[in-house]
């Protein structure tokens, strides 16, 4: 036996897990893990940039991800640096310290999603409000389709975005009943919103402060239900002498 031949035999196959680790580290694949949520078990995917998607953990989610993102998914632990923030972000309905990967979105879509992420827990905003905040006031429809294709629902809280007439509208994560469920979970009374929408109420004003707000804004909610005046448009509120709230910016 030659030493050279013995040395050759000190190599072998590539151990399991290395090529997967490389795929995750280069971003050629995303990692995924399962988490509980108010609407059932969800699959959260992530890569070096941040959390890339969230979906109901129903059959076919691996295939759905590959189809939408052109990358595979591997069972993984999220990066230690920010993985602990995933549960917090889902509970808060806001990314907070959690980085999000919106590279698959256009700059406008990413901007709209980031604005949606800033809507406070327990409040809702209409599509038109998002369009205005994104400095594209005419783009309410584009905002609607951006919300419908929000890659990270729950964490980017598109459940807090409602139709411009005040009705709850559609919800991508399992359907409108989940939107109702999530809003209830965070203290919004969806039935009250529907009632206001049925009465065409868009904004509410407080005569003691002279300010009008969107109905779920915490400023007007602090005024007590019997003290507020309902208006069917911002123009009507303004002509009655009220000024727009600086917190919810009702337009």
């Amino acid at each position: 036996m030659s030493i050279e031949r013995d040395l050759t035999q000190l190599a072998g196959e590539l151990p399991d897990g290395i090529s997967e680790g490389v795929a995750l580290g280069t971003g050629l694949a995303d990692g995924f893990d399962l988490y509980p949520s108010p609407v059932g078990e969800v699959v959260v995917t992530f890569n070096v940039e941040g959390v890339s998607s969230l979906d109901l953990a129903t059959d076919g989610y691996l295939e759905r991800f590959a189809e939408r993102h052109g990358r595979n998914l591997l069972r993984a632990e999220p990066p230690a640096q920010w993985g602990k923030h995933i549960t917090e972000a889902m509970e808060a309905g806001s990314p907070g310290k959690l980085p999000v990967d919106l590279r698959s979105k256009t700059p406008f879509q990413a901007r709209v999603l980031r604005i949606a992420a800033s809507i406070p827990r327990g409040e809702v905003r209409p599509y038109g409000w998002l369009a205005r905040e994104a400095e594209r006031p005419g783009a309410a429809r584009a905002v609607g389709s951006t919300m419908a294709r929000n890659p990270i629902p729950l964490i980017i809280p598109c459940h807090r975005v409602v139709r411009s007439d005040g009705h709850l509208g559609e919800y991508s994560l399992g359907g409108p009943h989940n939107k109702w469920e999530l809003l209830t979970h965070e203290g919004v009374e969806p039935a009250r919103l529907v009632e206001l929408a049925d009465h065409h109420v868009r904004v509410q004003a407080d005569p003691s402060t002279g300010v009008y707000c969107l109905p779920t804004c915490h400023v007007i909610r602090g005024s007590g239900e019997w003290n507020v005046a309902d208006f069917t448009s911002t123009a009507a509120a303004r002509s009655a002498g009220f000024r727009p709230c600086e917190v919810c910016r009702p337009g």
Binding site: I3, E4, D6, L7, T8, Q9, L10, A11, G12, E13, L14, P15, D16, G17, I18, S19, E20, G21, V22, A23, L24, G25, T26, L28, D30, G31, D33, F46, N47, V48, L74, R75, A76, E77, P78, P79, A80, Q81
Partner: protein, 171 residues
Amino acid sequence: MDELTAALADDLDRAFPVLVETAGPGLYWGLRRLCGDHQEAEDLTQETFIRAYRGLDGFDRERFDNLRLSPWLWTIALNLGRNHLRNRSRRPTFVEMSDHGISDPEPADSAAWDARLSALSAPQKRAVVLRHVVGLGITEIAEATGRPEGTVKADIHRGLERLRRMMENES
């Protein structure tokens, strides 16, 4: 340019898994012999490929034309081996789904070999491992280690001599 380098230049994302498949075993086992530890060799192998991917992502045609994959990968690996790994907490870590745990297909008498190899000087050990465990040529080793070919040859020669004497003394 060889076929794999051409494929990497043409479509990096598509060809990169092929590079991992072909260069991975040599890289892992070479590092395993050099550092003597599965976990460390695994981390170094992954980090080498991740750096390589980022490097290749920025290559223009000319750099691909002049690229010799094996020595280049080993340059990265040997440099990483000299420094501490830093980026692990920024990446997702793969979770093995099967129940056999960490796979470690280590050859049976490798502990004895690791003991002998560790008696060599660092340049001798590196040259012997790269030549005979990994299977690189003299020119490739010279390129990867930044040492002249004559020195590499002498390191291999002296290293093997030393190993031979150790084995004679053992029996």
